[in-house]
Amino acid sequence: MSGTAGQWVLLAYRIPRQPSTPRITIWRKLDRLGVARLGDGLVALPADARTREQLEWIAEEIGEAGGSSTLWLAAAASLSQEQDVAEEMRRARAVEYRAVVEQARAAADGRPGERARTVKRLQAELRKIGRRDFFPPAERETARLAVQALNALIEEGAS
């Protein structure tokens, strides 16, 4: 990361507790985007055309669910604060990558018949994590290699 704090897009929102379904749907959507949770009802993503648009649509959905929200473009007041937020996001992705590594290794030790399906699933999972991985941790490469190794094992078995 460069020496100055970057632009972030922030969504401040409130959703009624009941009914809980739209509330949970919105929570899941925010998780899928890989947002940093800065506080109750305040999430952030590094700003680019895509993240801004995605949060705009979620803002719209919050309105339809009877809630309210505002969307902000902001920069952290100090670089160290930004780095803390980035570090938290990096750690969250690292956990997801480690889960992929574990599943890939378990599949390598498991029944050969299951391996092909697991590889497809884990490849899709890696793509999904990659979409919300704004500050890649070292585990990203480990996970990629673990899935690659599992795939190589299948090809060995087939030849």
Partner: protein, 143 residues
């Protein structure tokens, strides 16, 4: 008729422009704006916050337009699944084509302006439509 949408067209807006031209208004003219306040008075806005033809209830704008204009064509609804996943990525549908289409559109927007993106994606969506139409008739992947 005039239609207005946000500048920096991506998958949903490109697909909507194609859909509008092919099924709603053959003489459609498109205007691109930076802000909802810039929408001309005689234009119908789409894929912008706070307008009727936009994301609603988890649907993307392409799906909203299909509903609004009662377009029941199953091939269009198949395209809608792909557009939805390329645009929103919420796994509502299984649409493996979405990831590729998303990248194609992102790349296009780096080298083309909005008018050019619509020009290039016209035949692209025509082709996708034909592909899935044949697939549905055959009941398998068309050659």
């Amino acid at each position: 008729m005039k239609w207005a949408t946000r500048r920096g067209v991506h998958i949903d807006r490109a697909a909507c422009a194609w859909l509008i031209r092919r099924r709603v208004d053959t003489g459609a003219e498109f205007v691109f704006v930076d802000d909802p306040a810039q929408v001309p008075g005689d234009a119908t806005p789409f894929d912008m916050r706070g307008v009727e033809l936009s994301h609603h209830g988890g649907d993307c704008t392409f799906e909203t337009i299909l509903r609004r204009y009662d377009l029941a064509d199953p091939v269009l609804w198949k395209l809608a699944e792909i557009v939805h996943e390329a645009d929103i990525e919420d796994d509502r549908f299984d649409a493996p084509e979405a990831a590729g289409l998303d990248v194609v559109l992102r790349g296009l927007s780096m080298v083309c302006d909005d008018e050019q993106v619509l020009e290039v994606t016209g035949p692209l969506f025509d082709g996708l439509y034909e592909y899935f139409r044949r697939g549905m008739l055959l009941g398998r992947e068309p050659a």
